[in-house]
Symmetry: D2
Subunit: 230 residues, 4 copies
C-alpha cells in the first residue's frame, strides 16, 4: 500500500514501522528470559488477554510513522487527541503557512457530500442533504475559497507578511501536511475515538486508512482490539 | 491582575497556581530532610544554580493554569509547542466549532497593524506598512469575514451540519477559548520560544501576558531565568 | 492533616494543591463562556457524567504535590506506574544514596506482619503467618540489615565511594524520600491500580493516604470516581 | 552486533529500530512536498543545523528498542532519567521480583574495580583502590550476597510471600531485565547525561553500548550530536 487516498485531495502514507505482534509478546514476557521468534496460538491468547484486561503498556514498544495530508479541521481534531490524551509517545511535525512553500489547496465537499445537522445531538452530522442543495453550497464554497485566495495573493503582492496575509484564507478546509509518529498503543486509542460514529465523517475517513495499515502490520493485536472494543 | 487584554478581543487569565519559589527549593533539596518556610539568599543562589546548569526538573513541581482567548492561528502555534516539545506536563481543553455555543468573533488587525514581509527571512514580519495600505486591508478583511459569516449562517439555515458549515469561516483569525495547565518548566520553555523575535507578533503579545503572571508568582525563578536566557 | 504515617517509619504529606471540583467543571465547559464560582447539583451531575463516560481530560487541570517517605520497593512500584502509564503529568524528585545526606533507615515488618504466598496467584500475598514464624524473620531481617549497614560503613571507612558501597545495603526495604506532583487524573489512575487487592500490601497503605487527601480536596470527583470504579 | 556485554553478567541488545538519518531530514522538511531517498551533503548540513540550533523535534520520529540486563542501581538511575526528563517518548517494561521467574543474579565488582570517594565532589568516584582492599570487599560482598540469598530462600521455604521475602536481598546489585523503547531524541539526551564523567561508572558502561548501536544506525545524526555536545 503506497498511499491511501482520502477525501478529494488528501492521503495517508505509512512511512515506517518498528516491531510486530511478536514485539508485544516478548515485551510482556520480560520477566522470563525467553524470546519467541514466531507467533503461536499461546502468544495470540496472551495478546488477547492483555487487551481484554487493559494491560496495554507492552503496546508502547511498537511504533508507526505516518505522513498525513488533510484539511486543517481534521488536523485540529487529530492534535486535540494527541494533546488531550495521555498517550504521549507521539511526535508531530507539520508544515506551516507562515511561509510559502507550496500552493494552498482546499477541501471542497462534492454536491452529494453535504450533511444535515443531527436531530438528537449537539455535534456530528445526520443524513446527506439533497444534491440540489449540495450543488449550491459546493459552488458557493468554491467561489468563497477563490475569493480568499485572490485576497491572500493580493495581500502578498502588497508586501504583507504571509503570517498575516493568511487571515484571508478559509483555513478550516485548507490542506496541511504532517508526520505523526506514535506507539501502537496510541494508534489504537486514536482509532477508538476517531473510527466512532460520533467522530466527524472527514476524520473517520482518515482513521479508516490508519486502521488498514495497522491491521496489515499487527494482525493479532488488531484482531484482539476489535474483539474487545466497547 | 484579573484578566490581561491581548489583541482586539482576546485575553489571558490566570485561573490557578500551585507552589512558589520555595517549592522549587524544597523539591531540589529532597535528599536532605529539611523544609524551608521562607526564602533566603542561599535559596536564591540555589535557584540561580539550577537554572544556569539546566537542572530544571524541580520546576516541574509548580503548576499554573491559564484561560486563553485567542485567534486560531495563535492557538495553532501554541499547540505545536505543546505537542512538539518534550514538556508534557500540559493539559489542554478547548472550545469547538463543531457545535454552536457562542457567536463567532474574529481578529481584525487595525489599519496601523499590518506588517511587511521580512527582508532576510522566510518567516516572521518586517516593518509596519503604511496606514493607507493598512486601511485597505483592514476593510477588505472585515468584508471578507462578514461574507464568510453570512455564508456560514446561510448554510446553517439550510440545515447543513455546523461541522461542515464552518468551512466558510476564515478560521485563522477566529477566536477560540481554552484552558492550558502547565508546569513552571513548561511555561518557561514556552516563553523562551514565544517571546523571541522570530515568533509571530500576535503570539508574542500573549507570551507577554503569560510572562507577567509568571514573574508575579515566581519572582526568584523568573529573575534567574531571565539572567540565563540565551 | 499534616502528615499521614504509613508503615513503621514512612509517611505521606500533601505539599500543595491546585484547583478544586469546580476547576473540573469549568474546564469541561470551556465551549461556553461561563465561570461557576460555586458547585451545584448540575455540576455534580456533569462530574459524574465525565467520569462515567471516561472523559477524564478535564481532570488534568487540577494538580497535587506529595512528599513521600517509603521503602525502595514501594518507590519502584510507584515509578513503574509513572513510567509505564500514559498519565504523564507527573514530576518526580527523589533522594539518592549516591551521596550521604542522612542516615539510612529500613522497613522491618513486625512479627505479626509477615504474609504467606497466595494459593492461586503468582504474585501478591495470602494469609498472615503465625507470629512464631514472624518473630523469627523479623529478628533475622534486623540482624541482616544491621550486618549490611556495618559492611556499608566499613566500606566508607576504607574510602570506597558511596555509590559502590551501597551494594552492601538490603535496598528493597531502605527508605527513600521523594516529591511527586501529578494531575488529578494521574492520581486517580494511581489509586485505581494501587488500592486494588492485587497490589502489594505495603503500597496499598500508601495509596490509602493519597486517597484520604484526594477525597478531602476533591469530594465530588472522588465520589463519582468511587461510584464508577471497576 | 547481537548483544553487547556489560559488567560481569549484564548486556544491552538492540531489539528494533525505526527510521534512519533520512527520516530526520524528511520530517524536518515536511513543509516542502519532497521525499529524499538517499542522503547527500545538503542533508548532512541540515542535520548539523538542526542539532546545533537545538531544533530536535524531528529526532522524535525515529525510534529504538533495547533489551537491557543490569543491576537495579543502574535501572534506578535510568528510570530517574526517564521520569525526570521531559523526553517522554519512552516505554518501559521490566521484570519483577514479586514473583519468581528466574534465579536471582548479582553484580559483584572484581577486586580491581572498587573505586574511592572523589575528593572534590559529593557524588561520583575517584581513583581505583588498591587490589588488596578490593580483594577484601569483593569477598565480603560475595559472602553477604550469599547470606542474603540463603535467607531469601529460607523465607520462601517457610511460605513467606516472595514480595516480602525479597527484603533479604541486597537489591542494589541484583540484575533486572527490561525493554526500553525511546525516540532518537530521548536516546541522545540519555547519552548526554549518562556518558558524562559525573555519571556512575556502571551506567556509563551501559551508555557506551547504547551509543555504539545509535552510531551504527544514525551515523549522520550521531556525528552532528558529538560535534555539538557541551
Amino acid at each position: 500500500m503506497d498511499r491511501l487516498q482520502v477525501l478529494d485531495k488528501g492521503y495517508v502514507r505509512l512511512v515506517g514501522v518498528m516491531g510486530s505482534d511478536l514485539t508485544i509478546v516478548n515485551s510482556a514476557r520480560v520477566s522470563y528470559d525467553k524470546q519467541k521468534a514466531e507467533m503461536d496460538s499461546k502468544d495470540e491468547r496472551l495478546i488477547n488477554f492483555l487487551i481484554r484486561e487493559g494491560h496495554t503498556s507492552p503496546l508502547r514498544h511498537a511504533s508507526l510513522q505516518f505522513e498525513v495530508y488533510a484539511p486543517l479541521m481534521v488536523a485540529r481534531q487529530w492534535w486535540k487527541y494527541v494533546v488531550g490524551s495521555d498517550h504521549t509517545m507521539d511526535a508531530w511535525n507539520e508544515s506551516s503557512r507562515r511561509y510559502i512553500s507550496e500552493d494552498e489547496q482546499f477541501y471542497i465537499p462534492a454536491p452529494t457530500e453535504w450533511r444535515s445537522k443531527p436531530e438528537n445531538s449537539k455535534q456530528g452530522s445526520g443524513e446527506t442533504l439533497k444534491t440540489a442543495i449540495g450543488n449550491k453550497f459546493t459552488k458557493a464554497l468554491m467561489q468563497y475559497v477563490e475569493e480568499g485566495e485572490q485576497l491572500y495573493n493580493f495581500a502578498l503582492l502588497n508586501d504583507i507578511a504571509p503570517e498575516q496575509a493568511r487571515l484571508f484564507l478559509p483555513a478550516y478546509g485548507m490542506y496541511v501536511r504532517w508526520y505523526w509518529t506514535a506507539s501502537l498503543q496510541s494508534v489504537l486509542h486514536f482509532l477508538d475515538q476517531r473510527l466512532g460514529h460520533d467522530a466527524q465523517a472527514e476524520i473517520q475517513d482518515y482513521a479508516i486508512a490508519v486502521d488498514a495499515y495497522t491491521k496489515a502490520h499487527f494482525p493479532a493485536v488488531h484482531k484482539a482490539w476489535q474483539e474487545h472494543r466497547k
